[in-house]
């Protein structure tokens, strides 16, 4: 398979700029690059979701036109998206049958057998009759791979496959992928994690800002080189941690129990406390109760049992408005879905939650002069890139949207900042900025509750962190006390004691 001179433009940006990319039979080709480097776009083109503005695609040397996934599938291309494309309410079998049932009646019969068969051959074990919403991220990913195999994929695209997996689950995945390579399948492995490239990649192609930087044999390179190619300069693995002293307890949580949407306990008896100036991290794989924990802390979800005490005041099941008024800021996981109001202007978004407050309200009315000057200051202070504060927020880039939220949440000098995946999917510059900013706020005396799947982020920022698994803390430690692998084990459900004992 070969892609030649692919160009794809979106309003404002050139996502892919004359990219060449080729894939050999039976190889694992890592596609490396930061978020926004154009990896996913390139693959969406290969999978027929987008059409290139320029360039051509050849398969077995023959040029092909991919107008839709249908065409791609017909040519034996399969893709496992970063965000799983599964129908949550349906069973695994139904999700597979959706595309691959041969018979109109009893559509599930024939797929089930094959699902189990693939399970055997590649170690893709999953129960065909389970409902998708009951599955773990790893299992869902297996379903996606199975779907690709059903399609008779010779070329398999894995988009950021490990972003939702524990290190151990990732190991399994690498195992599966290698087995498939032995079967003569070609795999494109999209990632921005150098470790993974080194582990599974035969070759690696590096993209930066929509351009191809290099394609090289993994065996003939090293992480630092790849990193340099990826970000264009040495990544700084350290951020400056201003001097600060840890003060009195700001937030105390006692034996907290919270249910998830399915009505099952998602947070099970969690207790912790955060002190003034402290950054308390939560490591763990998504879906282990972090979201529910955050929602409980910010008043978005009912607390079934236990107490939340803020500055000595019981705020259990207080509503988000009250909590914000008491100094709890929230940087939500779902940046665009939750954090902003896309069609309102930047300045209107800048005062979300504060529209009833002085000085933004004068009597009955909003004081737009104040709002504008306030917003313009914030825009300057957080160097948010926007033509004016009067444009709709939806016109901002992801990074700037996150900065907008950060500006809004931080500028009220909160006592507690709940930050959920604050840098997820942001480019290095923005990431760096936001991490530094959070550190600065902690130094400034805020207590920060940080949830992240990026272990680096946890290690870099937090003073203490807990590893969360299945709604419980496996233990609370300081960065450096444990190795990545040990933390990984805890993410898999081993308790701190066991890990220590084992070590």
């Amino acid at each position: 398979m070969e892609m030649r001179g692919i160009v794809k433009r979106f309003p404002g940006v050139v996502a892919n700029d004359h990219i060449d990319f080729d894939l050999r039979e039976g190889e694992i080709h890592a596609l490396l690059g930061e978020n926004g480097a154009g990896k996913t776009t390139l693959m969406n083109i290969l999978y027929g979701i987008h059409q290139p503005d320029e360039g051509e695609i050849l398969i077995d040397g023959r040029p092909v036109k991919l107008r839709s996934p249908r065409d791609a599938i017909a040519l034996g291309i399969g893709m496992v998206h970063q965000h799983f494309k599964l129908v949550e309410k349906h069973t695994v079998a139904e999700n597979v049958a959706l595309g691959y049932a041969r018979r109109v009646f009893k559509p599930l019969e024939d797929v089930k057998g094959k699902i189990l068969e693939y399970g055997e051959r590649y170690g893709l074990r999953v129960d065909p009759d389970a409902y998708v919403w009951q599955l773990s991220a790893g299992e869902k990913q297996r379903v996606e791979i199975i779907k690709a195999l059903f399609a008779g994929a010779r070329i398999l695209i894995l988009d950021e496959p490990t972003s939702v997996l524990t290190p151990q689950e990732s190991e399994e995945l690498f195992h599966i992928v290698k087995k498939m390579r032995e079967d003569g399948k070609s795999i494109i492995f999209i990632t921005h994690k150098l470790r993974e490239v080194m582990e599974v990649g035969d070759r690696a192609t590096v993209l930066r800002k929509g351009k191809k930087v290099a394609t090289l044999e993994v065996s003939k390179t090293n992480p630092r080189e790849l990193a340099r190619l990826m970000v264009g300069r040495e990544v700084l693995f350290e951020i400056e941690r201003p001097e600060k002293e840890i003060g009195e307890v700001v937030l105390r949580v006692e034996d907290l129990w919270v249910l998830n949407d399915k009505g099952l306990p998602a947070v099970r008896g969690v207790s912790f406390e955060i002190r003034k100036g402290e950054i308390f991290g939560i490591a763990g794989v998504a879906g282990n109760g972090q979201r529910e924990l955050v929602e409980a802390l910010t008043g978005l979800r009912r607390v079934e049992k236990g107490r939340i005490i803020l500055m000595g005041r019981d705020v259990t099941n207080a509503d988000p408005g009250t909590l914000f008024a008491l100094g709890v800021s929230h940087i939500p996981e779902e940046r665009i879905k939750m954090g902003i109001v896309p069609n309102l202007t930047v300045m209107e978004n800048m005062i979300l939650k504060m529209e009833w407050r002085q000085p933004f309200r004068k009597g009955l009315f909003l004081d737009f002069d104040t709002i504008q000057s306030y917003s313009e200051e914030r825009v300057r202070e957080f160097d948010i890139y926007t033509p004016s504060v009067r444009v709709p927020a939806r016109t901002l880039s992801g990074g700037n949207i996150q900065k907008l939220i950060l500006a809004r949440e931080i500028s009220v000098s909160p006592k507690v900042i709940i930050a959920a995946h604050p840098t997820y999917g942001l480019d290095v510059a923005a990431t760096e900025y936001i991490r530094n900013r959070l550190a600065k706020e902690a130094a400034g005396g805020a207590a920060i509750f940080l949830i992240s799947e990026e272990l680096d982020e946890i290690f870099q920022l937090s003073d203490r962190f807990a590893v969360m698994f299945n709604g419980e803390f496996m233990g609370v430690v300081r960065p450096g006390e444990l190795t990545r692998e040990e933390v990984g084990l805890m993410m898999m459900g081993k308790r701190l004691e066991e890990v220590r004992g084992g070590a």
Binding site: H330, L352, K353
Partner: protein
Amino acid sequence: MPDGTRFARILPYRVRLEPRVEVPRTFEIQVRILAILLSLAIMTIVFLSLHINPISAFKAMFLYAFGKGILSTLSRAMTLVLIAIGLSMAFRSLFWNIGAEGQYLVGAITAFGIGRLFPNLSGYALIPLMLLGGFAAGALYGQLPAILKVKLKVNEVITTLMLNYIAIRLLYYLVYGPWNVKEVVGGVEYTGYAVTNNIPYQAQLSTVGNSTLSYAMMGLVAVFLIAEYLIMERTPLGYDFKVIGDNPEAARYAGMRFLRLTMILMLLSGGLAGLAGAGELMANQHRLRPGFASGFGFTAIIIAWLGGTNPIGILLAGIFIAGIIIGGYNFQISTGLPVGFVGIFQGVLLFSVLFGEFLRRYKVKFERW
């Protein structure tokens, strides 16, 4: 950014829709004018297909509506606009209030009831009292759907609709039952007929000449048009409404009190419909009758959409639609064509507006396959 909808391959081109990032204000207006022109064009096709001379048809409609009949048109417009103001607020925060008809009715019923209760009150007291009563009734009638939607996620389209039917039955009950007409004409007391007595004379709003266009209604419309603008564009309340309408998740995240806000919203939306009902009763009809509900609540939906987010737009849209209705009768008289055409016109117009919405939201790009 997405690739657009694919149309059938028979087309030589692939159609791509690109969302517009920023929409200039003027474009909003252009799009609406375009919508009206489009609907006129389609109606022309319709008329031609029926061997009707479109020119004379439109003349019959508009020349009268905006000429001799202008007072009638305006009078009808006032009632409709009052309802539409409330609806546009509701729609902007994604509350599908299809129940204006019912709210309008209970408004009229309550106003009538008050007039019936205090027949001897002076106009200065009675008129405001009845209008207020109308507003209050509509506002309250709108609360159930609001509460059910927020508390139990009950689809408000259904609840508001069902409440329409219930309000109509309530009207029947009152007209044939307790409030049935009892009036003495030529020494005989007449009762049992499908109507109520007049509202007290002093409660009948004075009108321009012998038309049905009342000064009070014009005043109310003016006041509430401005009020709506200020609320939606200048107050924290309107800000919250817009947030809920644009991104409910963000509203939840911002800790907005949905129940309270939705109730206030329907207080305004339902209240204005109720007020319109009271006004229609006091300015035009003076009596309740089974046919008092005559689809005003639904017509107002079209106006709210045609008018868009801008009060002047709503006013003009209201006058335009009223023109179609009033002109529609003249159209009947002079062409002898059934009144159904008015309905078709309105339907086509609404679709044209939607088409305009679409043009406002997307750039259409044609590409060769």
